[in-house]
Amino acid sequence: MENWSLISLCVLLGLTARWAVSFHSYSGAGKPPMFGDYEAQRHWQEVTYNLPVHEWYFNTTNNDLNYWGLDYPPLTAYHSLVCAYVAKLLNPEWVELYASRGYESHSHKLFMRATVLFTDILIYIPAVLLYCFYFCDGSSKQKVATAFCILLYPGLILIDYGHFQYNSVSLGLALWGILGLGLGWDLFGSLAFTLALNYKQMELYHSLPFFCYLLGKCIKQGLTWRGFFHLFKISMTVLVTFALCWMPFLSDPKQPLQVLHRLFPVGRGLFEDKVANTWCSLNVLIKIKTLLSRETQLFLSFALTLLFVLPSSLKLLSKPTLWQFKLALVNTSLAFFLFSFQVHEKSILLVALPVCLVFNEIPLIATWFLLTSTFSMLPLLLKDGLLLPYVVTSLAFLFLSLYLLSALERSTEEELRLGLYRKLTQRWLPKLNLSRIIKWKFWFSLAAMAALSFTSVWLKPPAKLPDLFPVLVSVLSFLHFLGFIIYFNQVQLMEPQRKKSQKKTN
């Protein structure tokens, strides 16, 4: 069968899965007075449509920031504005100032879901397909299989089409950035990534690798005017893009400051709710949230993040190849997720994207990580009533990546890149079959996640510990993520990539 038909089939299946998930409930459905993220997005359409630009981020009589105030950068606001124009055409009640608060109807839900599908088709899906065709090794069938598995990653589908968000826009733009850099179109890549950054500030998790990669490339071009000029062009692209995005807010110095204040709410504390990172997990044993002062918390968070981010970034600076770039993206974003301030459980998607990009090289570990990332969001998904799609998409994803990408067969020690582990165990336990250990750990971990998912749904927690199950889910995921950050750092820092795959890197 021809390639185009295989690709269309995969895309259609991906779209069907997405739309089928969208039949289910969304965040905050039928839960006044605050509802959830779905109402937040609707409210932003209302605010951006009815109010002038200079009021969007300010607390005014018409714009109560306590009720889902805008806390994403301007590009999200512009996107909401465009959606609002369409909404107004279909049904003005959906965006009426004040009166539309808490508006819920079947047709409105269809409209909102359709906006997600539209941007997905426009931005994310083409990026995934292009990535797989240009940067994946293997036969065209292998490439299509990889694209298919990436498209069926449950975490993104469940959050975007279930809970309701537009992560496919920011992640898609970031992916276009990676594509641009991979193809050698640095200016295009920088432009795309800057747009991603201006859509969601969480993309900052990815910014350090982008910076190090580009800087490393410029340095590799030699400390000549060519290198400097290249660096200059990139910086100008970034600055001009920022300026264009923030233009309406540059007239008054108070504006950008207020926007930044909304984007980075340092007043909100180390963490909120249950999230699978260090601080929340540590809090189970030591109540660091109350024990340490705000400044100490900030300092600790900053220090640890820097500690985990530095080796990876320095390595990338010294060796700016695509493979290093992808691994640095994983390591940096995972470090930020684990140690940074005010991390939300959905931020794991920022780590999931680069892990999807190493699917083809290390399918087993990638599958393991992606399933863990979906599992880590279980409490959120259960709150939104997404149990059925969670179970079906996770099982389908597990089965497909194992079957189509032969994840379990491609798991020799070399393929799993266990160089350092082998070196460590060589001395005392030379006969250890690391590959089999990894596989057993994989199945055991999946069994644990399945069991915990089951108990979270069917059993009632004891009265003294009402949050038992979300905490257990967070801690289990955290332990996994800790293991993954060590593994991925090991892969990036220890092993050179196999020669075969280097032909496509810059």
Binding site: T16, F23, L388
Partner: protein
């Protein structure tokens, strides 16, 4: 090796990552994949057929057998044969673990989440019969060793059957148990192809006791009916001749064309003052579940007339087969023609009945070029004709995606299979099929925004019906011609 032990072997091999020595794993992958898709569609729209089956669960569970065909609290009385009623009875015992309330007869339109989950899962699990039947049918095909997997006839057939668009949307969205029933039909066919005729006949009689509209196949096997002194009541429920010539949405058969011709003549007649508008019987075409049909200009059609037409349409095929049997392929071709014939000329035909022709035709399609061409024409047209079954906006993207999925797959794979010998479809056929795109755009996107939506809401349905009827009729004629003109190809027959 039995299916369960093979499946267990596949699972164990997957867990241990041992290399796959047996290359049948793709079958289970496809079956599992489609089951996942069906699970995702659990919360999609379901039609009144959902309540129909819930009611049958309730009445078979709560009432004694003697009352099953007399119970009439709900408007959805039991109108399937007894074996299906026993099937519902069996299901009802599992239903009590999900939600006891669904088994209470007066709980009309009861659809709690647990009820929906149970009913949907029962259809998905019952499809195992269908999976088994498809596996058996694949054994009847000639295999080309060394061909790449995606080009193998058995692979293509498996996808065409397991992922059939019509079955997916009728069973797993609209809600019915066709997968299970067609599984029995296909198994019966497979047994005949494998020369296990007794099993084939037995399976066929089982099928008749499950769904009586398979009675159109009755000349192929003997049948037996459960007789419990209730035959007249059962028969009256099974064959409700009080219903009209057509369903509220006209199935794309001959009568749709007949109706439109009648309408056209009456309009023209009134316009040219050949007919008096007051003397014409008023034909209503709006809404309602089922209605009688009276024609204005052309003679009205009675149930007897449709029976006669059906019999006349299938007699030449039967005669040809009797006279010159062509082995399994000839038998299949005749089967498809009988199914199509009764679809074309039958009384109160549902558009879903076209599946009865498409599924067996898939077996022929992977075997011969001509049949592949006819299959493409028929499947695309009839799948499109099923669109009005899912009229909700929410399901619109699903039906378009799945339709495209199936169409692209069947076109691409059959083209690759028969790449030697030119195109499968001639330009006229391609134009006709492409015409479905503007038709869909007009009916579902443009028309609802016009003023006529309120005054003539049935117009898109009528258009769909008539346009598809043309395609189905064309396929029927081509199929007939191929049956009547295929001379002694018994020696070349590739099936066992």
């Amino acid at each position: 090796m039995s299916a369960t032990s093979h499946l267990l072997k596949v699972v164990i091999q997957t867990v241990m990552a041992a290399p796959m020595t047996n290359d049948q794993s793709w079958f289970y992958a496809l079956a599992l994949g489609v089951s996942f898709l069906k699970c995702l569609l659990i919360n999609a729209y379901h039609s009144t057929d959902f309540e129909v089956h819930r009611n049958w669960l309730a009445l078979t569970h709560s009432l004694p057998v003697s009352q099953w065909y007399y119970e009439a609290t709900s408007e959805w009385t039991l109108d399937y044969p007894p074996l299906f009623a026993w099937f519902e009875y069996g299901l009802s015992h599992i239903a009590c673990f999900f939600d006891k309330e669904m088994l209470v007869v007066p709980n009309l339109n009861y659809a709690s989440p647990a009820t929906v989950l149970f009913q949907r899962l029962s259809v998905i699990v019952a499809d195992v019969v269908f999976f088994y039947a498809v596996k058996e049918c694949c054994k009847c095909l000639r295999e080309d060793k060394g061909k790449d997997l995606l080009g193998k006839p058995s692979f293509i057939l498996t996808v065409l059957l397991l992922w059939n668009f019509g079955l997916l949307i009728v069973d797993h969205i609209h809600f019915q148990y066709n997968g299970f029933l067609f599984g029995v039909l296909l198994l019966s066919i497979a047994r005949h192809c494998q020369n296990r005729h007794f099993e084939g006949a037995f399976l066929f009689s089982v099928l008749l006791n499950l769904k009586h509209n398979c009675i159109r196949f009755i000349d192929k096997s003997r049948s037996s009916l459960f007789i419990k002194g209730q035959l007249p009541q059962v028969l009256s429920r099974l064959f409700p001749f009080k219903r009209g010539l057509c369903h509220a949405y006209w199935a794309p058969n001959i009568w749709a064309l007949y109706n439109i011709a009648d309408k056209a003549f009456s309009i023209l007649g009134v316009k040219f003052r050949l007919l008096d508008i007051n003397k014409l019987p008023k034909a209503s075409m709006t809404g309602g579940l089922v209605q009688e049909f009276q024609h204005s200009v052309l003679p009205s059609v009675s149930p007897l007339a449709t029976l006669v037409c059906t019999l006349l349409s299938i007699l030449p095929a039967l005669f040809k087969i009797w006279h010159r049997p062509n082995g399994a392929r000839g038998f299949l071709r005749c089967l498809v023609i009988c199914a199509l014939g009764s679809f074309m000329f039958g009384w109160h035909v549902h558009e879903k009945a076209i599946l009865m022709a498409i599924l067996p035709l898939s077996l022929l399609a992977v075997d011969s070029r001509k049949d592949a061409g006819i299959f493409l024409m028929l499947s695309v047209t009839s799948h499109y004709s099923l669109f009005p079954l899912l009229f909700t906006t929410q399901e619109l993207p699903i039906k378009i995606f799945l339709m495209l999925l199936f169409t692209i797959f069947s076109l691409a794979s059959l083209k690759t299979l028969f790449r030697k010998g030119g195109a499968l479809l001639n330009p006229l056929e391609v134009t006709y099929l492409l015409g479905l795109i503007p038709l869909e755009l007009i009916c579902e996107f443009v028309y609802p925004l016009t003023v006529w939506q309120k005054t003539f809401p049935f117009l898109p349905l009528m258009l769909t019906s008539v346009y598809c009827a043309l395609g189905v009729t064309y396929a029927f004629i081509r199929l007939y011609i191929s049956l009547l003109t295929c001379s002694d190809t018994t020696k070349k027959t590739k099936m066992q």
